[in-house]
Amino acid sequence: MGGFPILSVMLLVPLLAAVACLFVEAKAARTIALAATLIDLALGVVLWLNFDIGGPQWQFTEHAPLFAGFNYALGIDGIAMLLIVLSVFLMPICILASHSIEKRVSEYMAAFLFMEVLMIGVFAAQDLFLFYMLFEGVLIPMYLIIGIWGGQNRIYAAYKFFLYTLLGSVLMLIAMLWMVNEAGTTDIPTLMQYDFPPAAQTWLWLAFFASFAVKMPMWPVHTWLPDAHVQAPTAGSVILAGVLLKMGGYGFIRFSLPMFPEASAQFVWLIWGLSMAAVVITSLIALVQQDMKKLIAYSSVAHMAIVTVGLFAFNVQGLEGAMIVMLSHGLVSGALFLCVGVIYDRLHTREIDRYGGLAINMPKYALFFLLFTMASIGLPGTSGFVGEFLSLAGIYQANTWVTLVCATGIILGAGYMLYLYWRIAFGVQKNADAAAMPDLSLREWLMLGPIAAAVLWMGVYPESFLAPMRQDIAALDARLSRAAPEGDAHLVAGTPHAEAANAVGGTHDAGHGEAEGAH
């Protein structure tokens, strides 16, 4: 890319657009927002295409000493690149999904564009305090989005979201200050190689954990999520599920694991325990929900628990799986919220019982909804399968019992998702107004189509997504190897056969074949 500061441009475009949105009317604001997010998407594609797989770990780096103690340092590795691409991919879709917003449109679009700036910044930041500022800054637009454009109980949800995540984050700031004081640098790549004393690691890890566990969210600090999801407008839910939750996982993979490997190993049972509890408990809670958004919100918590066990499996499969689950969940849960939004716009209720038999009058919608339902369950061929399989394969090497419990999440997931789908799309059309709803419009096609394509792509050929991050995951695995807990699976690689099972030719096989034929 030469000297072109592509990351800065990606930050600047939505920032300028956000400011512009504040000064124009609703219709113009929609256009500006859509244009800006599409430009960012194009830049994201350029970013991906120019990402040098196998090249240096940190690419597209930019560095400028900005003000006392702060550096404007940007740069991405494969992990960050994929998450940035996910963010810019979801943003135009969110703008399209915000069609039903009618009050204070300019401010709404500005809030979303500010959010995009902060999200890209979080993943691209290479300075510890820059990261923190952006990480925290996300609270402001999200608080406003939930509070102004949310549903009935929006104020409670907005408060809960804000205070919960703020409380989680502030302790992390103290830990960061201590780290910088100790290591003498704010540079994230340097800190990732710095060995903090193990006794201090424990405290630092806990401080970071407080922040990321809330953001992730992990059971039992997940309770802000269902409220926030249910009350946020559709696009808000998509961003919340699609990108904001990934900040927690990104935090673990960027900070907790490489910076404090010993402490991570020390607390591995805490993570596993909470994740196992999350998988079983939130899945069971999801089963009894009457509200579509709430059900999907609880399923998010269960999926994020698969991410955390994968991350704390301390091996390549687990880490790769966790990343793929994050990307996949970003697409799938985003799409599911959009699906809910589509019918919510028509009937203005999220209550599952008010729908039924939608496959009859909305067949195209039912098809998309089915695809995303299956992807959420983890059907082979969809993105969900790849991620969950890799994660569970990773954790199997670390602990078989944890795998056993977490795998129930897939069964329970199939339970609540299929139950949801059955009640909404199948059966008889018991409500006349639901039966009269028209099928997908062009705008909705444009929202759901790209996500469906991405989900299938990731499911069929995950190599596209695994390749950019392989080197970074390997580096992380190498860093973690000194602390990795010994697994209980004791996997032994068998001696491989001389030929592949389906090989044709060779004397023995030929003779065998003849014998079969003679027989």
Partner: protein, 486 residues
Amino acid sequence: MDFKASLALIAPEILLSLSALALLLVAAWSRNSSRLVSILAAVALGGAAFLAAPALCAGAMGPDTLAFGGQFAADAFASFSKILIYVAAIACLMIAPTFFDRHDAMRPEYPVLVLLATLGMGIMVSATDFITLYIGLELNSLAAYVLASFMRTDDRSAEAGLKYFVLGALASGILLYGISLVYGFTGTTSFEGARAALTGELSMGALFGLIFVLAGLAFKISAVPFHMWTPDVYEGAPTPVTTFFSTAPKVAAIALTARVAVDAFGAQVDAWRQIVIFAALASIVLGALGAIGQSNLKRLLAYSSINNVGFILIGLAAATVSGVSAMLVYLVIYVAMTLGSFVVVLMLRTADGEQLEGVADIAGLSRTQPLLALCFAAMMFSIAGIPPLFGFWSKFVVFQAAVEADLVALAAIGIAASVISAFYYIKIIKVMYFDEPAGVVTGKSDWAHWLILGVTTVFVSPLGYLLTSPLGDLADKAAAALFFVA
């Protein structure tokens, strides 16, 4: 040191006293000159700031800055505080006329009293002797008592003045008692002498002296447990006066406390540090909890100022150059945020000019007065310390200093408690942005108000970070001057 050099060092004070006396005469001769007197007072303050600036830029410290046999120091630390105090006082002069005119209460004494109070504050921050300290403190306080009850016809204002006077006199008594103990056990009233005498183990009497002095000062900075007067006085006093109280005198009292702690009691850091830590944490928590139930904006901001004093004291508790520097940076940002917030309160008026102070009155302000609401929201997020607003930086430097001084536990508890205060700041934003408009704030605002609000909003916006380097440099110079003796 000859007399001439001493007089040169107190040039800002001389200018302010002469202006105050001259303007008092003008005020006595013509009752309708209040606007002119205000402008002249502001000019005098600007001139004084100009005279104080060289010492700060040069980072003046050491014996050359001591006037009158070591009773008065015109070092970089004093200059930093003075300039901040003068600027805040100018802002308070600018916002006052429209408010008092509406109540037909504007008299030329107001700027004169502000000048006298500011003069007292200048003496406070320069004091290097307990006697100088007391003179400065009382000059400031006496002017402040009158200012609090400036609207004679308003019951609340009179009540605020009386309360402030009674409790302030009590605090002065405590302080004087402490000073007398310190004098008795050290045989000197100079900070330097006290410092030299208080080495080694602290005697019981000197310890009591230290505690009483700090208690008296805690009253002046309204730190818990000596904060009780603050909400009442802030609520009752006329809003421009409240603005003044929550900015300039606060800076002076905090700078004075820092000088007393670091200079006079510099050899006994461990003795006063625990007091400061307690006051800091108690202020943060009580300031936050007390504000939650408030329905009056001025009262709420009073608790917010108590809360902020707690964070400032964390910088002092570090007892290092970077700690004091962080404290000064915090003060600058705090003054800007407080000025902005109170100006917003001043701008809340009905169409016929009635002043509004209730939290409920600003419901839905974002739709009736979007710009005003945006500015106020920026102030609130900033005071709450949410990045990327500039208020975050103030908390950041303070906690950084605390962590560097190995006060990690203090920093962790302090920052966790800051989440409580975030609750009521975002409540204000909720009322403005999420609620249905109350539609009572319809009055037009004065250009002076808009000017100050605009400047402070730009300052607390992310653009403020551009100032971090110069601000940090100046604060470092000032802090280094304070620690020079050590």
